[in-house]
Amino acid sequence: MLLTSVVIVLREVLEASLLISVLSALSGVLGIHRRWIGWSLLFGLAGAVGYSFGVAAISDWFDGVGQEVTSAVMQLLIFLLLLMFTFLVAQDPGKQRFSGKLIVLVMAATVSLGVTREGFEILVYLYGFSADLPRFITILSGSVIGACIGISIGALIYYLVSALSYRLSLIAGLGLLALVAAGMLSQAVLLLIQADWLPSQFPLWDSSGWLPESSVTGQLLYALIGYEATPTALQASFYFGGLLLLLIVAVFAVRSREQAS
């Protein structure tokens, strides 16, 4: 019971915590004030509360697949926002009077959406046990432990990315964001397959014997880079296509910043 809640909450917190830590580390590297983080956390929490109240109605949309569609749209948006962020970093830093504000908005929107998505699942989970007080306390303790581990891993990544040299910080930060973004894209495709909006296919490969998705490593990799043991060809092409696109833009970003500094 306790362990289950630790794992559930850790998995959800980890995804959001990775986004927040990498974006805030990059904020520091790019010399952007980190005031946006507090606001976007608040927006994200409000979004999570709103979504958890609305989910019963949302689930009935589109003949019962509203939840998949809403979640896929949010993940698609996070992918596009991260792509836009990398583009903005690639811009000539000398000419960024306008993009300086835009980049803050893009980061804030990304974190808000991430927190909404993950916070929603945690709220629904906790709410389900709220009628049974003794169980709720166990679940809540496990959730707090899971959240603390997730936040600690985020803090570790933040300090690691921040401690590197300017160039390496950019490479590590943008590289991690590219992996997260690709994972979001592949998850969005999977949800649309689940909703029967995209054609489903047989898995392209099966690495579950080698690294099961249910294992701790599998779950951590799922949260960090969108690991799937049995992806379909459609998912894999979107994953690698998205990853390649972001990495190409990231290379331009690192080069343009290097020249400027």
């Binding site: 019971m1 289950t4 559930i8 989910v55 019963a56 689930s59 589109f62 003949d63 019962g64 697949v65 939840q67 998949e68 699942e121 629904v124 989970y125 709410y127 389900g128 046990f129 009628a131 999977l190 397959i193 689940q194 909703a195 029967d196 909006w197 489903s200 047989f202 579950s208 099961p212 998705e213 249910s214 799937e228 043991a229 049995t230 992806p231």
Partner: protein, 115 residues
Amino acid sequence: MFSRTKKIYFQAVLVVVCSTSVNTVHADKPVIEIEIRDHLFWPSEVTVPANTKVKLLVYNKDPTSEEFESYELNREKVIMGNRKAVIFIGPLLPGVYPFFGEFNPDTAQGKVIVE
């Protein structure tokens, strides 16, 4: 002229999108119903044909929410208390595909048997 072409293009896209969604709604997919009661799946084993897309209708009769999850089926969906959920699975190769309720994994266990 440009805007008209754009409009026609938009309409064409709309028609394609609508017709696909109509097709998916009316396609004859086998429907399998599963209930969640007292954090258990009823039935806990369902048999579905191989190489066929199947619509799972999961009714959550508990007042608490549950998350239908399966690593083997690559499916994950939150089902609120006293609500139902639609989950499409397959086409699948013959085999056994376990699923579980992520919020109550000790009791809520089941499997899809594909033949």
